[in-house]
Structure formats: C-alpha cells, structure tokens
C-alpha cells in the first residue's frame, strides 16, 4: 500500500519518471559496457572467457536488482530516524519493515532487474554448458537465494542505522560493492578477500559458488564442492540474523521527541 502510494506520487511527474527508468537501465548498462570495453582489449580475465564473466554479471546483477527493488529504500531510514519521522510509521498498524521498504518505493529500479536478466539470457545463449537437470534447477535457485542474501544484508545494514543514523554508506560497500565484486571471476581477487566473502559476509553464495559449479570450474579458496548447493540455506540463516538485528534495532529506537 505504501509502495502503491509512492508509485502514484512518482507518476505525477511523468517526464521525469520516464527519464529515471531509462537512466536506471542505462546506469547498469554502462556498468556492463565497461566489461565489454575490457574484453575489447583482452581475451580473458583471470582465466575466464567473456561468456563466463557475463554469466557472473547476469546472476549477480539480477539478484542485486531484485533486492534493490524491494529493499533498496531501507537506506533512507537513517534520515527518518534522525528527523524523527519514523514515529509516524510506528503508529501505523502495519509491520515497520514493510513500511520502510515501501517508503519512496521506486518503480524505476525495474530497469536494473531487466538489464541483469538480459545479460543473463545473453550469456546463456553464448555459453557452451553441459546442462544437467541439477544445473537447470540450480540457476533460478541461485538468483532467488542471491536476492534474499542481498536483501538480508540491506536489512542488517538498516538495523545499524537505529544506532548510527549516518552510516548508510557502509551498507553500500557490501551491497553495491558486493555486486561489483561478484561480476568478476574470483580468480582475480586475493585469496583472503575470497575467504572473507565465503565465511564472513557470505556474498560468495549469491552467485560465485553455484555459478562456478554450472561452469564446471573448481570452487575458490579451498571451499568444498557441496557449498555450491548451500545458497538457500545460507540465505535462510542470513534472514534469521537480519531479523534478530532488526528487532534489536526497533527496541533500541528512541524517538527524537520533536
């Protein structure tokens, strides 16, 4: 309902809305142009061919796009905590998380999802994969689990905003930064960094581990083979942690009193 309200409000300025949808598509498209430009100069990156990098890009981009569409507004919560307008939300008979996620709901973020999906489909056309039933099921599961993991990270980041209203940018380094990281093959990054995104902030489960299985490549940094199938489980754990943090955040919330 909150989302619907914001959609109607955005439609008030139609020209501006059309521009934002197109640019949102382009922003992410330019992101991909960079990869195209890189492959204009080289044959492979870290031992990965273009189609393989495109698969990584497509899976990470789609998962991130879905998470951004549903939870992207959480970043704004810091200013709502600061100026006290979060109080209005607490008065309404609806879950706070749903309201904050719907706050300034931006339909334009569909641009990002569409672009990710296009690259994903394109990469699948280019790739020469020995498809098995397991791989066919794994791919959509990966995208959905990936979106949930990114979403959980966004909720976790927003929970921190109850205490530190100005820290929204830290979440960006895990979400936007993670998205950029996962678009490239793990082979080009330092081993410790890869271990970090497997065991500390489990971003590797968004796409790296399952995608490497689809591509018949070994898992990075000595991670066991079965980890490729652990994404849904990891996503569930992430949600649990994020949920606990969110509740702790609400309890710790003190209104500005203005």
């Amino acid at each position: 309902m909150v989302a619907g309200m914001w959609i109607r409000s955005t439609m008030t300025y139609r020209a501006s809305f059309a521009l934002t949808v197109v640019t949102n598509f382009c922003v992410t498209f330019f992101d991909f142009v960079v990869i195209l430009l890189m492959f204009g100069q080289v044959e492979g990156l870290g031992g990965f061919a273009f189609a393989e990098v495109a698969l990584l890009y497509g899976t990470a981009g789609t998962a991130f796009g879905i998470a951004d569409l549903t939870m992207g507004s959480l970043q704004r919560m810091g200013s709502r905590v600061r100026d006290g307008s979060l109080d209005t939300f607490l008065m309404r008979p609806a879950p706070l998380l749903a309201q904050v996620a719907g706050d300034k709901f931006a339909l334009r973020r569909f641009g990002r999802v569409t672009q990710g999906l296009l690259v994903l489909v394109w990469s699948l056309c280019l790739l020469d994969v020995a498809w098995t039933p397991v791989k066919l099921v794994l791919l959509p599961v990966t995208v959905v689990s990936g979106a949930v993991i990114f979403g959980a990270v966004m909720v976790l980041g927003a929970s921190v905003l109850f205490w530190m209203q100005d820290a929204a940018e830290v979440t960006n380094s895990f979400t936007y930064g993670g998205n950029t990281l996962l678009q490239y093959p793990p082979t080009i990054f330092a081993k410790d960094l890869v271990r970090g995104v497997v065991y500390v902030v489990p971003l590797a489960f968004v796409n790296w581990l399952p995608a490497l299985y689809v591509l018949d490549r070994p898992a990075p940094a000595g991670v066991p083979e079965w980890a490729a199938f652990a994404s849904p489980l990891v996503a569930a754990v992430c949600c649990g942690v994020a949920g606990l943090a969110w509740r702790a955040g609400i309890r710790a919330y003190r209104s500005t009193g203005s």
Partner: protein, 266 residues
Amino acid sequence: MRLYATVAAGGFRRHATYRVATAAGVFTNTVFGFILSYTYIALWDERPQLGGYSMDDALAYVWIGQALITVCGMMGGGFEDELIERIRTGDIAVDLYRPADLQIWWFSANLGRSAYQLLGRGIAPMAAGWLAFRFTLPAGPGSWLAFMVAVALGSTVGFAIWYLVAMSAFWLMDGQGVVQVAWLGGLFFSGMLLPLNVFPGALGEVARVLPWASLLQVPADVYLGTYEGWELAGAYAFQGGWALVLLGAGRAVQAAATRKVVVQGG
C-alpha cells in the same frame, strides 16, 4: 567577499559535523578501491601498458578516483538535492531576496564542502590504498601542487555541472530524472569505471573532450606527470575553459529562471 568566505567556512564546518558519515564514506571508498584495484591488476596483467599506463600508474588512478569522488562530484555534487528541494518547495524565493548572488552563494558553500571532503574522505582511502598496493606517487612537491590545482579546477567544473542540473528544477519541478542523467554521465565519462584513455576509438576521443574529463582523467594525468610545461598549461586551460562555459551557462539559466519564476506554496 567576507560574506562568501563565511559561507564557505560554514560549508566546511557543516560537513565536518557528520563524522560517522565521513567514516562510513572512507570505509566504502576503500572497499571499492580494493575491488577495482584487483580488476585493474587482472586487466593490466593481460595487457601491460594498456592506455599508456603501467600497472602502478593504473593502481594510482583507481585510488585517485576514490579520493576525488565527492571532492569533484562525479556521482553527485552533494548540494544539488538541497537546492532542488528549495526550488520545488518555493523556499528559493527567500534565497532570491537575499543581498547575495545565488550562484556565488552556492559555489562558496560547495567550496567549503569540497575542501572538507578532500581532507576527510580523500586522504585516508589513498593512504590505505598506497599501503596495500604501493602505486605511483608524484615526483615531488611541485607535482603535488600541480595536482592540487587540477583538483581545484575539477571541483569547479563539477560544481558548474551540478548547478546547471539543479537549475533545471525551475522548469521540471522534480529534478530526479535530470539528476540521474547527470549521474550517469558523470559515472561513465569521468573515467570512474575505466580510464578514458583505455576507451577505444571515437568513443575515447569524444569522452576525452567532454567536461567530465576534467573531474578525474585530467587531475590523474597531472598527478602521474603526463603533462609538462605548456602541456600542463593546456590541461589547465581545458578545465578552466569548461568551468567558464558551464558557470556562464548556469548564470544564463538562473537569469532566465528568475525572470519567470512562479513560487510554489502559500
């Protein structure tokens, strides 16, 4: 003059109060710096001397970019949202009554902001990046000075671009669309994602003469010592030229807007 100096100092102090935001920004810039550094290493491993840069030069480029994002306003000037909001709500009418020039007022405030961002968000990520990757440093104090001049000019061009963007709100009311277009241009054509001298063919030639090249590509090349003597003067002239053109356009649009401004609200 005194007035504008006070406004600039105010801009500096205002941003200096957001310490947590600064720390969060430093953290984010450092993380992105690391990710980009590894992708550049993979790229320059395959193609050494790509775009005329050595690996150490390319890594320096990454961290200069992270240090200057907020200083030169590649992905947003940091003031346009506020200015657009004032135009949308009609508060701008109060500003226009003040005995100060609107453009110079905002320029001063942005100057203070920019200076703070350089100290607060520029130095720390660059130091962290240098400790991890030992990239190229400027030859001496003279080169550092030349670099700072290029940064100051870049910051001016950045302001001029975003001021024009904000002025569009007088006609469109909702500035979001134009902001996004400018954000897109800034991200791609400033060379944030990939140095402009790596862009191929005509795309590269066009990208290198657009105003956004003043924000990162020119300062980075000055830092790396690409320009000497008259070439350096030419690089400054390129930035200064764009600054004058865009600031002039900003003035013209401002004049047109104030002639026909319809104030919103009661």
